[in-house]
Structures are given as structure tokens and as C-alpha cells.
């Protein structure tokens, strides 16, 4: 059905969709994270390390999700006391700390990276994970928890006065996003078969941010469309290959002018 080339692009698109959704969840609670690559790195390294010890891939993915989720709680805890731009700075710091940690952590290869990872990522599993993640995020939007996240995003003082425990909801948003990024990392490691700290640098967090902002941060389908657009377009337009980052940068500027709410508008539920 797919040639190897398109299959590989589809897998990376799926991984990027998971990354987009992983940022969408905390962003819907007003927590703009610029460190999602950090959670992805944790997921990638843990799963790769485990499958090299012949742990089944399914368990390795689960372990990645759990450890990333806990990392999300750890990063989220100090983020509760700060707002807006300071959360961006804090999460950026977390992303860099994680990168430097793996650069120096010898058991997972340090600067040499981790090679010889088994090719366990299969396209249908990635797509299934995307569908499940999207369903969960969609259900979340229609649930009390998702409503509380939007309420906190729009006016946290009022949200708290309406009985919403800001701490619990924000932490859950952060952790849920981190879980998704961890799973994305596990699929990523078993697709590229070689990981090093460099692959999880700031530009990966920034491009994840682009998926959400370009696609639409107020609709669960926004990050999906954003990830599709940003991943597939440069492949079909080979001309822009050398100008990738310039292209994305220009895209963001144009989107900010013409579609400030993203390609997909906010979704509203009236009853």
C-alpha cells in the first residue's frame, strides 16, 4: 500500500500528531509548554533502553508513558505558582535540562547516543495511538475536566471562585500532555533506531508549538491538522527543503496575520 518512503513519512506524521496533542492538552488550560521535547526524550530513552533488554515493546511504551507522566507532574508543580510567559521559560529550561542530562548520562550512551534500537514501530500501531489519543482529547473537551481547563485558561480567578481546584486541574493537564509526549518518544526511538540528545533540542519543542498554533489551539483537531501540514508539506515541496526553518517561520508569521486562531477554528458545544 505504502512505499517505504511514504510509510516512514506517515509514521513521523503520526508521532508529530501525538506531540501536537501532547501540547494541546496543557495549552487548553493556559499552560504553554516549550519543553515537550523533554518529555519525548524521556519516553524515547526509556523505551529504547528497555527494548534493548528484550522487554516487550508494549511494556516499554507503557513505562515511557508512566515515567513521562511523572516528569510532567514534577515540572507542573512549580509551574502552578507562575503564569504566562514564565511557564514558557520554565518549560524551556526543563527541555534543555533533559537534553543536557541525556548528553552526559553514560548508561544511555551519553554523547554517542543510543544505537541498534530494534525497528518495532509499526504504522498501524502509531495510527491507532493517534486515533485513541484524539478520541481521549475530544472526550476531554466535552467533559468536566476539559471545561475546567478552558475556564482556567480564560479566567483563573473566576474559575477558582466557581470551585475549580486550580492545582489539581493544571497538574493533570501537564501530566496528560507528558504521557502523550512519552508515547510519541517511544514510537520515535523505534522508528529512527538511533537516538541522541541532539534530536530532542529546543527546535523540536518549538515545532510542536507550531503544530498547535498553526492548526488551532482551541479545537482538538487543530494540532492534528497542524502536524499533518507541517510534516507533509515540506516533503511534497522538495524546493523548500533547504529553507525548512525559514519556511516554518514565515508560515507562523502569515498564520499570525491571517489565521490568528489557527487553521481550524474553536469548537463550541451549546448543549
Amino acid at each position: 500500500m505504502f512505499s517505504g518512503y511514504w510509510e516512514s513519512i506517515s509514521v513521523f506524521t503520526g508521532i508529530n500528531i501525538l506531540m501536537g496533542l501532547s501540547l494541546y492538552v496543557p495549552m487548553s488550560a493556559g499552560l504553554v509548554s516549550l519543553g515537550q521535547a523533554g518529555f519525548m526524550a524521556i519516553g524515547a530513552y526509556i523505551s529504547a533502553y528497555l527494548t534493548k533488554l528484550h522487554v516487550p515493546f508494549g511494556f516499554a511504551i507503557a513505562a515511557s508513558a508512566i515515567v513521562s507522566g511523572f516528569a510532567g507532574l514534577l515540572v507542573g508543580a512549580p509551574a502552578l505558582r507562575i503564569r504566562g510567559i514564565y511557564i514558557m521559560i520554565l518549560t524551556m529550561g526543563f527541555g534543555e535540562i533533559t537534553r543536557v542530562f541525556f548528553l552526559n548520562f553514560e548508561p544511555t550512551g551519553g554523547p554517542l547516543g543510543l544505537s541498534g534500537i530494534q525497528p518495532l514501530t509499526k504504522i498501524h500501531w502509531v495510527l491507532l495511538a493517534c486515533v485513541i489519543a484524539l478520541l481521549i482529547v475530544w472526550r476531554l473537551r466535552r467533559s468536566r475536566l476539559g471545561r475546567a481547563m478552558i475556564a482556567i485558561h480564560e479566567d483563573d480567578v473566576t474559575a477558582e471562585a466557581m470551585g475549580i481546584n486550580l492545582m489539581v486541574v493544571k497538574l493533570l493537564a501537564f501530566a496528560l500532555g507528558a504521557v502523550l509526549a512519552g508515547i510519541a518518544g517511544a514510537f520515535y526511538a523505534h522508528q529512527t533506531l538511533f537516538i541522541d540528545a541532539q534530536q530532542f533540542d529546543f527546535s523540536r519543542s518549538a515545532i510542536t508549538f507550531l503544530f498547535v498554533v498553526l492548526g488551532g489551539p482551541a479545537n482538538p483537531f487543530g494540532p492534528v491538522i497542524g502536524a499533518l501540514f507541517v510534516t507533509v508539506l515540506p516533503e511534497t515541496l522538495r524546493v523548500v527543503q533547504d529553507w525548512r526553518m525559514t519556511f516554518f517561520g514565515s508560515l507562523l508569521v502569515l498564520a499570525a496575520i491571517w489565521r490568528p486562531d489557527g487553521l481550524i477554528r474553536a469548537v463550541h458545544f451549546y448543549r
Binding site: 481521549i136 467533559s143 471545561r147 475556564a151 485558561h153 473566576t158 477558582e160 463550541h268 451549546y270 448543549r271
Partner: protein
Amino acid sequence: MTVLLQVETVNKRFGGYFALTNVTCQVWTGQIHALIGPNGAGKTTLFNVVSGVTRPTSGRISFAGTDYTGRRADQVHAMGIARNFQSVRLFPGLSIFENVMIGCHARMGSVFRELISLPVPWPKAEREARERAAEVLASVGLDSRLSILPSELTLVDQRRLEIARALASNPRLLLLDEPAAGMNAAEVNQLGRLIRKIRESGVTILLVEHHTRLVMALADRVTVLSAGSVIADGPPNVVQRDAGVIAAYLGDGA
């Protein structure tokens, strides 16, 4: 009669500004209690202190005998104190129905159970909250089938929606901060009937209002604040004749 809300020698300072000075007052169960005073008297600050939005610099506040000074707003809400905001603060990205559903949030059990039941299309708690939301929307006179966002409502309906959102949590004490602002005479009468109906359903009401006729018609008791201090407290007809109150509103020379 029992005291539902007790405010004891509460002080609130913002830097060098004394917003509230030794404020003591109590709200009795089942009453409509009005809080009046000239602009800048500290009415909204007192509301914020009572609802946990800001902490008092000193003093004590208790609800049904429980001291809750220093608790967070969501904890205060959980005890059964709900409020609206003078400057309407609805959630603009949520629909009218969802805004009221936010009011039900705290009555829907554990958030963690919610997380587990995410794959369930309509969990029981959600269905019950939806019924409650439709009910309170109807009770304030809003059509629960309106497919619009709060910003598309008139200011008067936005105020009604805020009351609905506060009522959705089944509070024991409802704090209303100038609900009649921007309403015409007919709408004020309608609001008066609504407030009475809410009281009859067993909810105690603390009301900040500039609309004198409404206050005099509704209130069982009136507390007057001026420059951060209580200058009078009593039944409306007594307070209305109080020399200190007249001076505060019209100036000493009056």
C-alpha cells in the same frame, strides 16, 4: 435564627491603602442581607474576602460556625458560598450551557474518577449536571437551548447567566455583587422576584446594590460601609434614617 456568615474585625490593606478597617457584621440564615455604601467604600473588597478571592490582612471569617479565614476560593465555594462578579466575568470561549456547567463542577465528585471515566460517553455525574444546568437556566429566565456564546447575550442576560452559574452549585449563601447594574425598571422588578424566589428555595443572600428601591424592597437587614468601615447596621427603615448614613452619601453639610 442562626448566624450563617460571621465577619469579625476584618482588615484589608493594599499597600498603604486601608480598604477595610475593623469590619464586623453577620448574615443570618435565610435572610436577604444588603451591603450598601458609596463608591470605594470597600463592598467588593469585602465580597472578595468573604468568597476567598483575597485574604484579609487580619480578622476572622466563619461560615456556619466554621472559621475559614485564609482558605482558597475553591475551598470556600465547596462549603457552599457562591458568587457573581460586578464586572461580569463569564468564560467567553465556553457556551452559555457550559458556563453553567462550570458552576456544577464542584458538585460532580472526584476529578480523578472523571479522568478514568473519560471513555464513557455520558457519565452519570455529567448527565445530572446537565439537568441541573437546564433547570437553573430556566429559573433565571434564560432559554437553555440558546446556541450562542456569552458575548452574544445582552448585558442584562449576562448578569442572569452569572446568577445561574452561581446557583448551579446549590449554594447555601449566594453573594450578589450589583446584579441590577444596567437594568431598566421592568428588569429590576423581575430581578427582585428572582432574588425572592432564590431565598424561598432556602438560599441566604448577601447583596451589594446601588439600586436603593430594590434594596429597600428586598432586604431584611442592611449593613452600610463607608471608607472601609461599618457605619450602620440594622433593618432597612432604620438605616435609611441614620444620620451617619445620610452624611456619608450626601456629605456632612447635608
